[in-house]
Amino acid sequence: MLRGKGRGISFFDEMTGQTSSGQAGEVRSPYREYSEWFAREDTARIHRKAQQAEAFFRTTGITFNVYGEDEADERLIPFDVVPRIISASEWRRLSRGIEQRVRALNAFLHDIYHRQEILRAGRVPVELISRNEAFLPMMMGMDPPGGVYTHISGIDIVRTGADEFYVLEDNARTPSGVSYMLENRETMLQMFPELFAKISVREVGDYPLNLLKSLAACAPPACNGTPTVAVLTPGIHNSAYFEHSFLADQMGAELVEGHDLRVVDGRAQMRTTQGYTPIDVVYRRVDDDFLDPLNFRPDSVLGVPGIWDVYRAGGITIANAPGTGIADDKALYSYMPDIIEFYTGEKALLPNVPTWRCSEPEHLREVLDRLPELVVKEVHGSGGYGMLVGPAASKKEIAAFRAKLEANPRNYIAQPTLSLSTVPIFTKAGLAPRHVDLRPFVLMSPQGIRITPGGLTRVAMSKGSLVVNSSQGGGTKDTWVLDD
């Protein structure tokens, strides 16, 4: 159900099936066992556990830095102890749709950087590519090792009813959050082992090893023997540094920064205590622009001078491939149903959220008319920055945003305010519904696509809020996919 107005909107609760507009539901079947357990538990004990979890996150250093704050403070992402539970059949349906989508994204990237059939067929406007900063002309004609562009992707999904799921966003550059998915599970296992004995929840802990296998399977032609994999991080001050070190640690890969690497004898090599050794696959957590100061931004100190030339010559695999950003561009998002159909010959299994492209005059007019009820996003934005949530905004904020929108319509898309489903969180006053989304993580290699059951559930911690981004005070939950 997609509604325009913030008030009187009806929300689907994943535990009770209840909608705020009325009928009291019965606990939905995926939550039945959990709910029985919860009813028998002493809430004081759960409260204590929740506090322990916070201390555990602090000592483990599962923190992130918030950009735009005065002091580069390390903050915790709030963790909620009530799991978000998805039934086996719901997951089957979701994962089929996700797999189809990731295949299409990859095919699209290959096409865009080769023959551009989809542009010739007129299914996607040429200027959307040619005028897009995320389009990397240097990738034209390049064949990334194994033919894989999106080694790791995150497909953001929202739910609005018992059978209604939408893809909100594709993340094909460097989706983050997977470490929270893993640590949330680890925390739940430590706090409530009895739950896992009672309820059969699918495993997520093998993600790092699958990631390693998947990356190794994309080794470049120059690799001989077991591929050496490294994670490239901008360094300890990056907001996602915890995740970078966590993944490197779990994979047993080296965690490198740009200044640890150098091009020697046509290979990207890392400076070890005994000299330079080649790396075969780099899982980079820096943006395209910062990869190589010789070939991209000359002022970047995060990257490796000349790594691009090594890449071109088949000396290294860069994951995700440079230029994948074109596929998760928000302006392109609205074409995804066409893109999926074009490459797979099938209808999209998971629908898009209806989207107005403000670059088109008719769309813009409608958006301006209905601004107070819409969500407007920057085409290239992420992390919940620079967006307008119409129903939650003041008249003044809306007026200010209207001016920005009119000045540069091409920079924005708009969507109806979705009635995101809710899942209860644990509060002092008991269970209280909060809005959630879901980011499943998808690995792709020449051997196939692998989706970790579940993913990262983000939850808006304050009542009524629809913004789940951690940079805006959102929290996370463990996500359970039940076994059949």
Binding site: R58, T59, T60, G61, G235, I236, Y241, S245, A248, D249, A253, E254, L255, V256, E257, H259, D260, R262, M270, R271, T272, T273, Q274, G275
Partner: protein, 314 residues
């Protein structure tokens, strides 16, 4: 392993050792300040000199060598990049950089240390609370040391961290001797004069060895014996000889791992052989001050050579 990671482990260990040493220096200084107010100011000054922070202190505070000022400066002054708080923060930054080479236990101990001290040193420490705070610093340090030796793989990373520990420790003991050497010269060694006894006790306390000294040498305190104990006595874990032996062990293990004899290994061997394999009397004959100055120089040169040989930086 990455040169940078080796460097981070080494620096993590150096900073942790430094914070512990500085806590010990404050402890010894505090004791003297309490018992002999007349010499307190010069004692605090010598603590600052030993910690290598006198210049920075004078820049920030002038000549105001009161207990409160000095202790605050050494513990937590944000203007002091070598305060215990800053040093622990840097240890933690290095631990984060080398996170993939640390066990979860070690990382959590370092991180907890940083969080605990951050909370303890949020405000100026009252004099009554100082002993507790210093005890907490020592305790945190012991926690890290314990998890480190209990959980870390004995690989190259381990050896780099240990090198950092012992290099820093040798430097610290030598600095204490450098600042206090005049007390150990035979000309001022009026045995039995109470001034010197207290001063000598302070030296021993700054390396937490006053009990061990008496256990070993009995009640007799003499300059020669203190010097021997701190410089040559191999069973004393903060003596120069002990630290150098450890460094050579760690360098030797690195040589075995890498199959390469580095310049650092030759330098480490030479420090032990040429400087520390002689009786204490011969050190005094050659001049104690000259000996210490030379040792500090050689130790610093070894540190630089380790950074070069194992490619900590480009």
């Amino acid at each position: 392993m990455l040169g940078k990671t080796a460097g981070s482990l080494y620096w993590m260990a150096r900073y942790l050792e430094r914070s512990e040493n500085n806590a010990r220096l404050i402890d010894a200084g505090f004791r003297i300040a309490l018992t002999r107010s007349s010499t307190a100011r010069s004692e605090w000054r010598s603590v600052l000199v030993t910690a290598g922070q006198d210049f920075a202190f004078r820049q920030a505070q002038g000549e105001d060598y009161t207990s409160q000022r000095v202790v605050d400066f050494l513990l937590r002054d944000p203007a002091n990049p070598s305060s215990i708080l800053s040093v622990v923060k840097r240890a933690r930054d290095n631990a984060r950089t080398a996170r993939t080479y640390l066990t979860r236990e070690v990382w959590e101990a370092v991180n907890t240390s940083w969080m605990t001290l951050g909370a303890l040193l949020k405000r100026q420490v009252r004099e009554d609370d100082l002993p507790d705070v210093l005890a907490a610093i020592r305790q945190q340090s012991a926690q890290v040391g314990g998890t480190f030796s209990g959980t870390m793989l004995r690989n190259d990373g381990y050896n780099f961290a240990r090198l950092g520990t012992f290099l820093e420790r040798a430097d610290n003991t030598a600095r204490i001797l450098d600042v206090k050497y005049y007390l150990l010269l035979p000309s001022v060694a009026h045995i039995g004069s109470s001034i010197d006894n207290v001063q000598w006790e302070t030296i021993l306390r700054s390396v937490s060895a006053h009990r061990a000294y008496h256990w070993l040498y009995g009640a007799e305190i003499s300059a020669l014996k203190i010097a021997e104990f701190l410089i040559l006595y191999k069973q004393m874990p903060r003596s120069l000889a002990f630290c150098c032996d450890q460094m050579n062990d760690n360098l030797g293990l690195l040589q075995r791992t890498y199959g390469e004899e580095t310049e650092a290994i030759r330098m480490g061997t030479s420090i032990c052989r040429d400087r520390l394999s002689r009786p204490i009397q011969s050190i005094f004959d050659g001049g104690l001050h000259e000996f210490i100055t030379d040792f500090l120089r050689a130790n610093a040169a070894l540190a630089r050579q380790i950074e070069r040989d194992y490619r900590f930086v480009e």
